[in-house]
Symmetry: C2
Subunit: 235 residues, 2 copies
């Protein structure tokens, strides 16, 4: 098992090196990069569909890299909104890594780009360990999954700056205790921000869209870069 641990450490070290290069490149270009992580089926792709639609209306320039084990389905769903959407098919691997992102980015026009969304493979465990050069990880927790997830999967809640409490429209049909979920997320990460979201009816995605706009503005002013470097150093 020691051999295995060593190989894993070397893999992570090499990943961090590539991620640091990516972060530098994206930062120089003032491109905000958000890495969305959740369980399978928490709603990442639906959130991104509605987000791309809104970004178009707001005149933003965005692109998406979407990770999946086997299919091209998500990129097909996301391409309809007129922005570049590239599928990264991992062929069995349970997370994206920085080298996959670097390879995919050679096919994305970066000039003038404002936001790069990365939709990770649906998995609440392994993607948390892989830095992709993002400004921040965003964890999406669907209320259909149960409120015990922040303590059961603390790694991703500790590393994310923002939690989207999603499918909030399903709340009346579940036993999900939203205050308990938020309190537990803050136990593992006192700084985590929380927004309640839904792709059906109220409250919708308005707060999430405003949050992105605010981050884009910070990025252009050079503030975000400072914070993300501090986070990277401390993770």
């Amino acid at each position: 098992m020691t051999e295995r641990v060593e190989v894993r450490q070397n893999v992570l070290k090499e990943n961090d090196r590539i991620a640091m290069e990516l972060r530098g490149e994206l930062s120089r270009r003032r491109i905000l990069c958000l890495n969305l992580i959740s369980s399978p089926g928490a709603g990442k792709t639906s959130i991104l569909e509605d987000t791309l639609k809104a970004m178009g209306a707001r005149g933003r320039s965005v692109a998406v890299l979407t990770g999946d084990i086997q299919t091209e389905r998500d990129a097909e769903r996301l391409r309809r909104y007129g922005f570049p959407a590239l599928q990264i098919t991992t062929g069995g691997t349970c997370h994206l890594d920085a080298s996959m992102v670097r390879r995919a980015l050679t096919e994305v026009p970066l000039d003038g780009l404002e936001v790069l969304f990365i939709e990770n493979v649906g998995n609440l465990v392994c993607p948390a360990s892989y830095d992709l050069g993002e400004d921040t990880k965003v964890v999406v927790l669907s209320v259909a999954e149960g409120d015990d997830k922040p303590l059961k999967y603390p790694g991703i809640f500790r590393r994310a700056r923002l939690m989207l409490l999603h499918k909030i429209d399903l709340l009346p049909h579940t036993r999900f205790d939203r205050e308990a979920a938020k309190a537990d997320a803050r136990r593992v990460n006192p700084d985590i921000e929380v927004l309640e979201t839904s792709c059906f009816g109220e409250p919708g995605l308005q707060q999430w869209l405003d949050w992105i706009d605010e981050r884009v503005r910070e990025k252009k002013n050079g503030k975000e870069g400072v914070r993300s470097r501090q986070q990277a150093a401390g993770s």
Copy 2:
């Protein structure tokens, strides 16, 4: 990366060796072993709570091993039903492996045991690759997760004998297409059995409980062992 692939293959080979020993031991004792796999929050622990309650009423002798990355919560929930329930805390690892199960089984009284449930770590990817010596893997798919999961995570749907289409009570509140999900599951695994289940109201867990009873009977007659060995050889 070749070094990494080699280490992974060695780990899986060693895992398969231990799993084969476990399968032999459980088979000699005519203990049915079911390995439940799903995304985080699909409902495995709730299903097991209701299952243990029913097994008690039916006079069955059962035990549970429940895997989690950090907390002891699931075992605490499951211990209330009067059967042995052991937590396996993986400390960051995203799946159970056969050696963890072997270690945990030293603390479970096996004499007279009829069913051993293993609740895997919530993850639709990695647990599929690890044989735990079970008779069969059972994949739980919540309708809140979306009907595209069988094609997006084919590994587990290919290896499971049974799919529980769970939280079926939420169906009216989702865009989940149950016929599409079943058809896709059968595309990756023509032999997969499907049951619709819910822990709230109709249809409940009756069919699942009957399915277990049928497997216990087969196991006692020695049929199940033959099938599971064939499956293991072909996987």
